[in-house]
């Protein structure tokens, strides 16, 4: 072994040591949805490009994740450097300065390409606090064969009146054929997600500009009465315990004529492996009443950096990779265009390859664009959020109100009683919270 070789060996060892010393580890908390697992599989691409950053994954089920990250950020635990959070958390946490602003994401990140509705929902006062990983809205999914048999044609943007008429025409209780399936299970993310979005299109709102609860208004009465009429006459039995999964299963079995729910369901109901009606599904925008807003919501699973992180730059580098155009291209290359995370970037919906692989793509984009989280209602409101109110108290209030509405659907109380109780409990909770 000559001198030069020895020197080279030493230099190599030194370099290796210094790289190891510089390597930064970031801990990423994600939800166990398919697309997040896919991101973990593809993360080799990131580590190859950034050898100085090591990734550590904490993958959890949705409810557990929400509790863990909330606890971590509220107690300033500093356990995570990248958190997966929804559009409900971002405006609240951003306003409290609990998140790091996502500016300077790199020259080729192209922030302007992110769908405007998503940017609005993930920003506070114009500053982006989280980057959308995938997003969704809600829309009408319907059976084309039943619609044809009923002698009707679904417009691209139906009204609630049309939905009711179509539901009446498609219902055949003896054949276990129900005109419409909607969420009835209590919960802020279950029936209240649907009902809040529906209420927006009827001109109702959760609070007025002075944070006074609005359940005693005519608009809410009309909303809830219309919903009850639809569900009791044309809905499946036991609708008050049906959530997303229950309705998905009913629709896949061919028991629902129409279903208004998350755009992500489109790929499940058109998948011939799971759905008996896969080739008979049509899509339309969520209904409206001619007042402006449609009855659709907006949601995005997004990545954010908590303010307490000690690896902010590395975390931002990772988020820039995971939510970039290049990432979408990477998924398409490895797993096909149909598996690309949807609903975040304009360029994806201009890509002919994607549009061909996903027949529901255009309707998803239109639905997302039809929602405006900064101005979701007809009358002005002091809050952000389409199917929720972005205040910390909402999860609790929303679920309790949802229980009253669910009990009304089950026939245990009238619409008026349910609204009166909702008004009282919301007022109580808001007073206790200091509004």
């Amino acid at each position: 072994m000559n001198q030069t070789f020895r020197a080279l060996m030493g230099a190599t060892a030194l370099t290796a040591l210094s790289t190891a010393a510089q390597a930064e580890t970031i801990t990423i908390a994600t939800v166990n949805n398919g697309q997040m697992i896919q991101m973990q599989r593809l993360a080799e691409d990131f580590t190859a490009k950034h050898p100085d950053i090591e990734l550590e994954w904490v993958t959890l089920e949705e409810n557990v994740l929400r509790q863990r990250v909330t606890q971590d950020i509220a107690t300033k635990g500093g356990q995570f450097d990248v958190m997966t959070i929804g559009t409900y958390e971002v405006p609240i946490w951003g306003a409290q300065d609990w998140l790091t602003p996502l500016d300077n994401m790199g020259a080729d990140y192209d922030v302007d390409d992110i769908l405007p509705a998503m940017r609005g929902g993930l920003s506070v006062d114009g500053t982006l606090y989280a980057a959308p990983f995938y997003g969704e809205s809600s829309m009408v999914m319907y059976r084309t064969d039943l619609m044809e048999a009923a002698g009707m044609e679904m417009p691209e943007a139906p009204s609630w009146e049309f939905i009711r008429d179509a539901a009446a025409a498609m219902t055949d209780r003896d054949a276990e054929q129900y005109g419409i399936c909607l969420r009835g299970k209590a919960g802020w993310g279950e029936n209240m997600a649907f009902l809040s979005a529906m209420a927006n299109s009827f001109g109702a709102r959760w609070f007025d500009e002075d944070w006074q609860a609005q359940f005693d208004t005519e608009e809410w009465n009309t909303t809830l009465s219309f919903y009850m009429d639809l569900m009791t006459n044309y809905g499946p039995p036991g609708a008050s315990t049906n959530g997303f999964n229950e309705n998905l299963s009913l629709f896949q079995q061919g028991k629902c004529g129409m279903w208004i729910d998350a755009t992500v369901a489109a790929s499940f109901v058109t998948n011939p492996d799971d759905s008996t009606v896969a080739d008979q599904v049509g899509f339309a925008l969520a209904p409206d009443n001619g007042l402006g807003p449609r009855g659709n919501w907006l949601w995005a699973w997004s990545l954010a950096v908590p303010a307490g992180s000690d690896a902010t730059d590395a975390a931002k580098t990772f988020i820039a990779w995971a939510t970039s155009k290049e990432y979408l291209a990477l998924v398409a290359e490895k797993e096909g265009w149909a598996n690309v995370p949807p609903g975040t970037r304009t360029s994806l919906y201009e890509n002919p390859e994607y549009l061909e692989a996903a027949p529901f793509a255009q309707m998803t984009l239109q639905s997302i664009n039809a929602a405006d989280p900064t101005q979701p209602t007809v009358d002005p409101v002091p809050y952000t959020g389409v199917q929720f109110v972005a205040i910390p108290e909402f999860a609790g209030i929303g679920t309790q109100v949802g229980q009253e509405f669910s009990a009304a659907l089950a026939g245990q109380q009238s619409v008026d009683e349910a609204l009166e109780k909702a008004q009282d409990l919301t007022t109580d909770e808001m007073e206790a919270a200091g509004y």
Partner: protein
């Protein structure tokens, strides 16, 4: 008879375990007690100490409190009634010599091995679903309109689900008690011409009283904190919100740790009142 010396040695040796167990219990309890006097709402960034009994006052005066206590008592009472009566009947049946006894006994015990969330999901989706459920098909077979179990008879449905899980436990304890009964007594009474009902009422049931109190005591302790079955099936709606569920809603859904902790302390107090009451009955029963 232990000597003074061996008694103090025993105390010394037991001390670490006792201290560990006490710490295990005391730390969470003291923290809950501390939080219950705080205005602690982490999502608002509020953590103010010492607001007196304000949380307790708000928890007790809220319209949901009395309802939830009532629901808890009805639920526990209903489940106890079903499991004890059902348990006695099943134990009497299983005590009879029959073909395939081993398999039957295993089948009866099986529900106890199923996790609460799993059993609640199975009951909800397979049996009680008004469209696809087995019961709905049975109803339709007889020409009736399927019953919507979880929203029309929600409390009863949950009582049924939990009873199904706890019936094996009651049956097992009661079966061993029946088997410990001296068969000569029964034979003698039979020879004297006593009917089955009289034998059951005057001999078997008094003999079972101790086992029944044990079943009631142990089940009550577990049943006061039923959660998973409610979470999976009704999420506390349709009048199935127990005290435990209300506390969960206050702490985790409303993110009001102070208010929820006050509820937690109240639940501990209520549970202890019931426990003391039960212990007295058991104590009395075990003495005789």
């Amino acid at each position: 008879m232990a000597t003074q010396h061996s008694r103090s040695a025993a105390r010394l040796m037991m001390a670490p375990a006792v201290i560990l167990l006490l710490g295990w219990m005391l730390v969470p309890l003291v923290m809950t007690l501390y939080f219950s006097f705080m205005d602690y709402r982490p999502l608002r960034g509020v953590a103010e100490c010492c607001v007196g009994f304000k949380n307790y006052e708000r928890f007790i005066t809220s319209s949901s409190f009395m309802d939830s206590v009532l629901v808890t008592l009805i639920m526990v009472g209903g489940i106890l009634a079903i499991t004890v009566i059902g348990g006695i009947l099943l134990a009497l049946l299983l005590d009879q010599p029959m073909w395939g006894q081993g398999i039957v006994r295993i089948l009866v015990i099986a529900p106890f091995f199923v996790m609460p969330t799993v059993s609640a999901l199975v009951w909800k989706n397979m049996f009680m679903d008004p469209v696809n459920g087995v019961l709905a098909h049975v109803w339709r077979f007889f020409g009736a309109v399927p019953h919507d179990w979880l929203s029309q008879s929600s409390l009863f449905s949950i009582i049924l689900i939990v009873s199904w899980q706890w019936l094996p436990f009651a049956t097992l304890i009661l079966l061993t008690a029946i088997q410990s009964l001296d068969s000569e007594q029964l034979e003698a009474s039979e020879m004297d011409g006593a009917k089955f009902l009289s034998r059951f009422w005057y001999i078997i049931l008094p003999h079972l009283s101790r086992a029944i109190t044990v079943v009631i005591l142990i089940q009550t302790i577990f049943l006061l904190s039923i959660f998973a079955e409610i979470f999976v099936t009704t999420q506390g709606s349709f009048g199935t919100r127990t005290l435990t569920y209300l506390i969960y809603q206050r702490v985790l859904e409303s993110q009001n740790v102070g208010l929820g902790s006050a509820g937690g302390i109240l639940a501990v107090i209520l549970a202890n009142i019931i426990a003391i009451f039960l212990m007295r009955i058991v104590g009395k029963n075990l003495d005789t």
